[in-house]
Symmetry: C2
Subunit: 348 residues, 2 copies
């Protein structure tokens, strides 16, 4: 059954849906994506150690995803690889009565963290110019590193019975024009969702039709996916409890519990009411310090379309609660994290 | 510069070029692909051992590819990963005067061998039906295994300075309709070639719009790539010295040195002249035993378009000779392998 997915909004997206539309002969009905979840690079890897996964966070996040998707409790590993140290005949059941179906469709995107980041930054992939041998070498090295992480994330999800399929944006044809997204494969991601899989994308090195190449961040991938598949909500799992008014390690850093976004993507903090600091109950975008303001901008552009965005610490009970869809505006007092929502209300 | 690549020939291919055409704004001129090379799964892995690479064959093949591409002799590793056991600061040069350009563009496709084969065959991915939990589990397990091999092949090539980029067919949107190829991303592969990279594809589990899913063999990927990019020649690297008239381990198995293909893809053996066996100087397709006849059929359909196809043992001097483009009809006497060519002559 063909879906009626249409690209929305931005002029940038008008050019994008020249990719093949969903096959009219597809055997699977359309499935609504409940949640797009971003596994932050800083959350699932150890920042300071080259190519090192934070196993504990990835493992607990995997279990949270399993539960949130509504997979059955008995897990059948879908990773039948040698690393498990058992014979292939033990790995593969002759049949399985267990359903691998699950009611809540998810799409996963992960960042790079200590995979790819060193390679990309040391070589300047983000600046383009593949005629520079160092940039070209860095492009190759970055892709090797981020696809290695993608493989590990997919294996971890699959080992807990989640039917994860890796989709690398460069391979999938994602590309940019002067750093603006030019092509994607979101309709094919939807097709994989319809077939019952959980696509796992990531930040990647991609071709740029102006600069030669650049880095496509996982956050941009999330934004574009959200724009087209219109999930019920989006969750950013990070290594801190949410968005703060200043770097979280600073004294008196305050967790921003609720941010409201207007149609023009401008936003204001409504909880906590920061009026006590003499700012009249709201803090403008430029008052927030650090790299978080870029993240808020991406999240705000998603929230502006009526999709709730949550920022929460990976591996915590708060992460599980929000992934299960249990966090609503009215009961957020016991929940620790940041809700970024549209001033106009929710689309779902 | 936009290329004028057009799909040719088969009715099957008419539907394929609905993918985005090459970006008019691409910064790179069109590069002609000199050679598409298939690394046979049986050649680069150890058949009987689950997920085990034949390191010696892969390493020598990598060096052959380097030389055939015309890369400079001094190799700079483009794999800046932790496995190398050195510090990241030692891995990444501050700059490199070395050019990573090379005159001869290649596209690499590899088979699965002991990666993915077990997982796919035990679960029946080839038969489709993702509603069967075993098939769905097998699909995930197969993709994990083949992408693991792809990662290893890319790293091996990159470690010798080849700017290899992995492209997984499922991720790249390759799909089938009742096992017939329905979509591909060949124009994006050409774009990566134009940008100076060596795309590395593989046999993969893919979605099928009739059956649900199936296995897309590396041989089909090679055939489709050849159809669109029209390389000067195609090389199949295998674990035996070429195509034989019967399973090569049988007594009196004869290496078929030259096979001529007609416009309708029927073919005949012209060297050796098998008339001595009373077959009138040629052996028809159905006289050839074993799985090789499928391989010959794929090779024949490529050769029918005027592109020479060579089948040769990986890692041998004969493999290097043919990859360098040094094997011509007239000097093949000292060369050990099989040439499959069009009766009408060559297109290049």
């Amino acid at each position: 059954m063909a879906t009626s997915l249409q690209s929305s909004a931005s002029p940038e997206s008008q050019a994008l849906n020249t990719i093949a539309p969903q096959s009219p002969g597809s055997v699977y009905p359309h499935r609504h994506v409940r949640c797009i979840v971003k596994l932050g690079g800083a959350a699932i890897t150890r920042k300071g150690e080259l190519e090192t996964i934070d196993d504990a966070v990835l493992a607990s996040t995997t279990l949270h995803l399993r539960e949130a998707m509504g997979l059955s409790d008995a897990s059948l590993s879908l990773d039948w690889s040698r690393r498990n140290g058992v014979l292939i005949t033990d790995l593969i059941p002759n049949s399985t009565g267990q359903h691998l179906d699950f009611p809540n469709a998810f799409v996963v995107v992960h960042g790079a963290g200590s995979y790819g980041h060193f390679q990309a930054s040391k070589s300047g992939v983000n600046k383009g110019d593949l005629k520079n041998p160092l940039v070209k070498a860095g492009f190759v090295a970055t892709r090797i590193s981020v696809t290695k992480l993608n493989q590990e994330v997919v294996r971890c999800l699959a080992s807990e019975g989640i039917p994860a399929v890796g989709v690398s944006p460069f391979s999938a044809g994602w590309s940019t024009h002067n750093k603006m997204l030019e092509r994607d494969n979101v309709l094919e991601i939807q097709r994989a969702v319809d077939a019952g899989f959980v696509p796992v994308l990531h930040g990647d090195a991609v071709l740029d039709s102006t600069l030669g190449c650049t880095i496509l961040s996982g956050d941009i991938v999330v934004r574009r996916l959200a724009e087209v598949v219109k999930p019920s909500f989006v969750v950013f799992l990070t290594n801190v409890p949410g968005v703060f008014d200043r770097p979280p390690e600073e004294p008196n850093a305050t967790l921003l519990r609720e941010i409201v976004v207007f149609e023009d993507s401008s936003w204001t903090i409504v909880d906590p009411p920061l009026g006590a600091e003499g700012k009249g109950g709201a803090v403008a975008a430029h008052d927030t310090t650090g790299g978080m303001s870029t993240k808020i901008a991406e999240a705000a552009s998603i929230a502006a379309t009526g999709i709730d965005v949550f920022v929460v610490e990976a591996g915590t009970p708060h992460a599980l609660e929000v992934l299960r869809g249990n966090v609503k505006k009215l009961n957020t007092k016991s929940w620790k994290g940041t809700l970024i929502r549209s001033a106009l209300g929710r689309s779902s």
